[in-house]
């Protein structure tokens, strides 16, 4: 007797459980189905559609023209609210001095913002030059590759940007950048780096560093447009990217880059 009731009870539990399962499954199924329908929400997000009508930005830095005045580094900090401490730079300038004995001396006091004091006497110098550094806006960028959540990405214009509301601050991208261009913003506590002044580009203004460069050592332009100043420059000069061996697809081209530079 007791057995039959318990069997009945089991039956009841089973059927109610089945019902619950059914509705749970429909609910889950519907949500999943819905998220598939919302094409943007598939498990693996679609590859980026390349919009040919948008520019594809590249940058040229002409080392022969740079006079190491530091205007760019200073303007960059002011334009992008980067703390004025000597540790955080979206762009900075290095002075390379190759001495007659073959050794290389590199300095970048406060990123070059206060200008440069010549540290090696003239008679010891084999050659010396300034190298402004900034994000290379790589097309195969290692920082995007390693970001676990998609908080850094290549914009349709080829500008590598950061999503400050989505970055989890794991710092993996900082490790992955071979150029040392990334840092953790000490106030916002997320990754930070050069955006090619994306907010200025969108308002048809030049990036702050290029606005203030007195000698026109920095240029940016549309690599898709074969008649742009930038493409012309690239055609007429022998340019080089930093660390070509790493195949980062850097879009920052240096004119007159010396082999000592890393």
């Amino acid at each position: 007797m007791s057995q039959s009731t318990s069997a009945m009870g089991n039956e009841k539990i089973k059927s109610s459980r089945r019902k619950f399962l059914k509705s749970a499954a429909t609910l889950a199924g519907a949500t999943i189905g819905y998220s598939w329908l919302k094409s943007s929400q598939v498990l693996l997000f679609a590859a980026e559609p390349k919009d040919e009508s948008l520019p594809w930005y590249g940058i040229v830095i002409d080392i022969e023209k740079c006079i190491g005045c530091g205007s760019c580094a200073k303007a960059c900090k002011k334009e992008n609210d980067v703390p004025i401490e000597p540790f955080f730079f979206r762009t900075w300038i290095e002075q390379y001095t190759v001495k007659n004995d073959g050794s290389v001396n590199i300095v970048s006091p406060n990123g070059g913002i206060d200008g440069f004091e010549q540290t090696v006497p003239d008679e010891d110098i084999f050659k010396s030059f300034f190298v402004p550094k900034m994000c290379n806006h790589c097309s195969k960028s290692p920082c995007i590759q390693v970001c676990p959540v998609g908080a850094t990405y290549d914009s349709p214009e080829g500008v590598v940007l950061i999503d400050e509301k989505y970055c989890i601050g794991c710092r993996y991208c900082v490790q992955a950048c071979p150029y040392g261009c990334r840092f953790i913003h000490p106030v916002k506590k997320v990754a930070n780096k050069c955006t090619l002044c994306y907010h200025r580009l969108k308002k048809n203004l030049t990036p702050a560093c290029m606005e203030v460069c007195p000698t026109g050592a920095r240029m940016y332009g549309n690599l898709r447009d074969k008649n742009s100043e930038l493409v012309k420059f690239l055609k007429e000069h022998t340019t080089q990217v930093l660390r070509p061996n790493l195949n980062t697809g850097a879009k920052l081209y240096y004119n007159a880059l010396s082999s000592e530079v890393r």
């Binding site: 550094k133 290692p142 959540v149 989890i168 993996y172 071979p178 040392g180 506590k189 890393r262």
Partner: protein, 398 residues
């Protein structure tokens, strides 16, 4: 001035040579040293347990459950150092909901989940289900229900079902071995795949991590076995120690060889980063690499273990030696993690200078936090041993 800046100004003043201005601050501190160390312990302990199960090494039976529970208690904590070092820890869930398929760190989340849910928990569950059913029948009050919930309500202990427990557990173990390899190989990959950093970027990195993981996991189980037996006032079976010691000896040789090969390759190829790495190794890493990792963590244990292969006399002495060896090996593997994680960030990516690193005591990224994550698993292990005591399990005839 903010204390953080103060700290950075000090480092800036102590930088040697030229470093990129953004490189002054070390991005990954002691927590990220602890993270691969803990994951390594998990993988190693699990592989030792699997040895017993898959290859039927009877002598290791007393350590089987201990190894599994050790693996579980460390695995539960494994992601915590990672999460607590994030500067936006409240956003950590994003790794699971929008994982970036090309990121080693994102996929780690899934490797971790797979290993936790499908391998470790399941294996332990199958292993303990029979006992838990029996315990839930014996106990009263809350504990009865705790065990009942833990069995997920599967209270069938007919011989046929129990046989299936064993069968399924075996399958899980077989799946588990490659999973453990993947888990820790993957941690190595997180570092090995960073092409910007020549100290990390080597295809051998996952394999080196794996073997050092096995080394550390095996010594941890040996240590835990000794401590538990001591606390329970049971005799430590020196034959068990000998068996574990033998495995430890062989894996340690492999580990040593692999790391040696890696360094030889580096020295012979002498790529553009060679000069700076030479300076790194002979300077800032000298103590932790040659003394802690090499001498204390590898050479001395190797010699002792080799000696113990032949020396079979005084049991007390042998036990003491195993005890010391396991601690030395753990120190060595911890130093290895330190050398990889911290060492890789001390030199500039401009290859022409060094920054320096000072561990703070307090704060989210400090020593205390790291120590906490290292001690917590021991607490969890004690709890698990109380909840699921291996020595009270229902005996099953094979």
């Amino acid at each position: 001035m903010e204390p953080h800046y103060q700290h950075l100004y000090e480092i800036l003043a102590n930088a040697q040579g030229y470093i990129f201005p953004n490189e002054i601050d070390l991005q990954w501190g002691i927590l990220i040293v602890v993270y691969p160390f803990i994951t390594g312990l998990v993988a190693g302990a699990f592989i030792l347990a699997s040895l017993e199960r898959v290859f039927k090494v009877k002598i290791l039976k007393p350590t089987y459950q201990i190894a599994l529970l050790t693996a579980l208690s460390f695995l539960l904590v494994a992601t915590m150092p990672l999460i607590s070092h994030l500067s936006q820890p409240q956003r950590a869930y994003e790794i699971m909901i929008t994982p970036h398929s090309s990121s080693a760190m994102a996929i780690f989340g899934f490797v971790y989940l797979w290993y936790l849910m499908v391998v470790l928990l399941l294996e332990i569950w199958f292993d303990y289900r029979h006992s838990m059913v029996v315990w839930s029948n014996e106990k009263k009050g809350v504990m009865k229900w705790v065990y009942k919930i833990l069995t997920l309500g599967v209270s069938d202990i007919s011989p046929r079902t129990v046989k299936w427990d064993r069968k399924l557990g075996y399958i899980i173990t077989v799946v588990g071995i490659p999973s453990a390899f993947i888990l820790h190989g993957y941690v190595g990959f997180i570092f090995g795949s960073i092409k910007a950093n020549p100290w990390w970027s080597t295809p051998l990195m996952p394999i080196i991590f794996l073997f050092s993981a096995m080394v550390s996991g095996i010594s941890l189980v040996m240590l835990v076995y000794m401590v538990i037996s001591h606390i329970r006032k049971k005799v430590i079976d020196v034959n068990v120690l000998d068996a574990i010691g033998k495995y430890l000896f062989f894996v340690l040789i492999l580990d040593f060889t692999l790391e040696g090969l890696d360094q030889i390759q580096r020295i012979y190829e002498a790529e553009e980063s060679f000069e700076i790495i030479k300076l790194l190794v002979s300077g800032k890493l000298y103590l932790t690499l040659f003394v802690a990792q090499g001498l204390v963590g590898t050479i001395i244990p190797l010699i002792t273990l080799a000696f113990l292969q032949f020396y079979k006399h005084k049991i007390k002495l042998r036990k003491t030696m195993y005890f010391i060896v396991s601690i030395l090996v753990l120190i060595g593997v911890y130093s290895m993690r330190w050398n990889v994680v911290i060492g890789g960030q001390l030199f500039s990516k401009s290859f022409s200078g060094f920054t320096s690193f000072k561990v703070g005591l307090i704060g989210l990224d400090g020593t205390l936090m790291a120590a906490f994550w290292l001690v917590l698993p021991i607490g969890i292990l004690a709890f698990l041993l109380w909840l699921l005591p291996p020595w009270k399990m229902v005996e099953e005839e094979e």
